[in-house]
């Protein structure tokens, strides 16, 4: 057992972090350490965020380029064609990704999932489902789920 120099509580040594030498334990417990780190983070939050924004704007580590490439892949015809080609080459991976996406959508009742329930893209000619209809369907599903839970 060791007494924390900050909170004064006696705690087992497993509740203390190790110094960088990986041999001796710190004087303050893990909870106090985390509280201190949270306070430091909160105090410097704006400054750090400004630094990160500046780095992003300057494309310092290439993240901005990466995001632009990802957007291009997602929203342009070229990107769409590449995606279709990838799906054709990797049907199992694509099916697994689609299953995951649908599972996520089912849990969160996402717009994508609800729109698909209303008008399946492969079985329906409707391309644009009115937003208010999607909202109504989502609320209906939420009520049905809540009823099932309460029964």
């Amino acid at each position: 057992m060791k007494t924390c120099t900050v909170c004064g509580q006696s705690k087992p040594e497993s509740d203390y972090r190790l110094h960088s030498d990986k041999k001796t334990v710190m004087g303050y417990c893990n909870d106090c350490h985390l509280a201190k780190r949270r306070a430091q983070h909160a105090a410097k939050r704006e400054e750090r965020n400004a630094q990160f924004r500046a780095r992003y704007a300057a494309n310092a580590n290439g993240v901005r380029d990466k995001h632009a490439a990802a957007r291009k892949m997602k929203y342009t015809e070229e990107g769409r064609a590449a995606l279709v080609a990838w799906i054709a080459a990797n049907p199992e991976k694509a099916a697994e990704a689609q299953r995951k996406k649908m599972k996520r959508g089912r849990e969160r009742l996402s717009d994508y999932y609800v729109r698909r329930l209303l008008c399946h893209p492969e079985r329906s000619t409707v391309r644009e489902v009115p937003a208010v209809l999607i909202e109504c369907k989502r609320l209906q599903l939420m009520i049905e789920r809540e009823c099932r839970e309460k029964r």
């Binding site: 209303l118 109504c136 609320l139 009823c147």
Partner: protein, 65 residues
């Protein structure tokens, strides 16, 4: 409930009441079932006009646009 916006408001209200325990699950389920019928009917209308490649105003969805 004369249009989809009113239906949405009614459903939101029902959901809140159900959460708070102000109404029974059976009552809420009935309303959800009715709402499902109305939504399906509106969907059929939307699909019909999409098939005919027409875009007339649908009264039920009008207030939303």
């Amino acid at each position: 409930m004369k249009n989809a916006e009113e239906l949405r408001d009614e459903l939101a209200q029902t959901f809140a009441q159900l959460k708070a325990g102000a109404i029974k699950p059976s009552e809420a389920a009935e309303l959800a079932n009715l709402a499902g019928k109305m939504i399906a009917s509106a969907k059929v209308q939307v699909e019909y006009f999409a098939l005919r490649k027409e875009s007339p105003r649908i009264k039920f969805l009008e207030a939303a646009e």
